[in-house]
Amino acid sequence: MSETPTPTPSTEQLMELIKQLNEQKNEGDGWGKKSPAATQSNIKSVSIPISLETDHGKLRVYLGFDGSVADSPDKLMSLIESLNAKGLPLDLWAAKKNWNKKSGW
């Protein structure tokens, strides 16, 4: 924190700056190192499974999102974490004990 107040940028300027900086990838940012064209055009949609307890047993439901939510690892992880924070029961993968025969959810 610096102590000398300076003029505050507008909300729009802050949002634009965040957008610009998020587009600049750091070294070691996973798939962000690949060209934007290669990562942004291929993903058409993203489905995130949640697991609902019903009277008849567990039901897996897929929440559908536009492919743009996976433009970057940050954006995708942020979506997943926000669903988790809202209390949605994400259907998390866990290895079965007999994992060497068949893996499962």
Partner: protein, 229 residues
């Protein structure tokens, strides 16, 4: 190493807290004249009240995290649903709390979940502000510290690193905007200072306050990759 970028924003301490802090003020030891002692105390009191957001008793209202999972804003601000949705659209996940205690609890859960032996906490002026401030607020609420805030965990303070190893001027206090501009991360360093954050809160600009903190986290991460990788 696994960096977790950490940056907090604080509210100005209220009158009750300021009066308590005032009771701890002492005139400078080298002043003998009672009148000068009194005026020295008045001066110190005025300075303290001007920097009310930097006091130990000032409340944390936003704690920003940037890590490999994304950007997270733990805050106790009255944000609207639409504002939270807009923040989510630009990649900022908001975890809102009713007060500072709940904010710190949520932050602990998240940081402990992210913590690994190779974690390093990355801050800009965190050694002298963000970390001691946070530790004290955890202690005030009688809450256990997140594991990553323990003194044994590696803390990277980019302000100290810059002034010690990357600048010949050796000025100990340098703003994040200045460092980011010098490194070419920002075109100009006209980023609002932490001291002006209170004005945003006073004006009810909570959305902008979250943006500002998130921006600080993003820029801190950019500086980290320039100076530490």
């Amino acid at each position: 190493m696994k960096p977790i970028i950490f940056d907090i924003e604080t509210l100005a301490a209220d009158d009750e807290q300021l009066d308590l802090e005032q009771s701890f003020l002492k005139p400078s030891g080298n002043i003998k004249d009672p009148k000068k002692k009194e005026s020295n105390l008045i001066e110190k009191n005025a300075t303290m009240r001007k920097k009310a957001a930097l006091l130990d008793s000032a409340l944390i209202c936003v704690a920003g995290i940037k890590c490999d999972k994304g950007i997270f804003s733990f805050n106790s601000l009255p944000l609207g649903k639409d504002e939270i949705a807009t923040l989510s659209e630009i990649g900022i996940c908001c975890i809102t709390s009713k007060d500072e205690k709940e904010l710190l609890s949520n932050l602990s859960l998240f940081i402990n979940n992210q913590y690994q032996p190779e974690t390093e906490i990355v801050t800009f002026n965190g050694v002298n502000f963000d970390l001691p401030k946070s530790r004290f607020r955890y202690a005030t609420h009688n809450l256990p510290l997140p594991e990553a805030f323990d003194s044994k965990v590696k803390i990277v303070d980019l302000m100290l690193r810059y002034s010690k190893h990357y600048s010949m001027s050796k000025v100990p206090f340098v703003s994040m905007g200045e460092v980011a501009t010098r490194l070419g991360i920002l075109k100009d360093g006209k980023i609002m200072s932490g001291a002006g954050f209170g004005q945003l809160i006073e004006d009810g600009e909570y959305f902008k306050a979250v943006l500002y903190n998130a921006l600080d986290c993003i820029i801190t991460e950019k500086i980290y990759y320039r100076l530490c990788r």
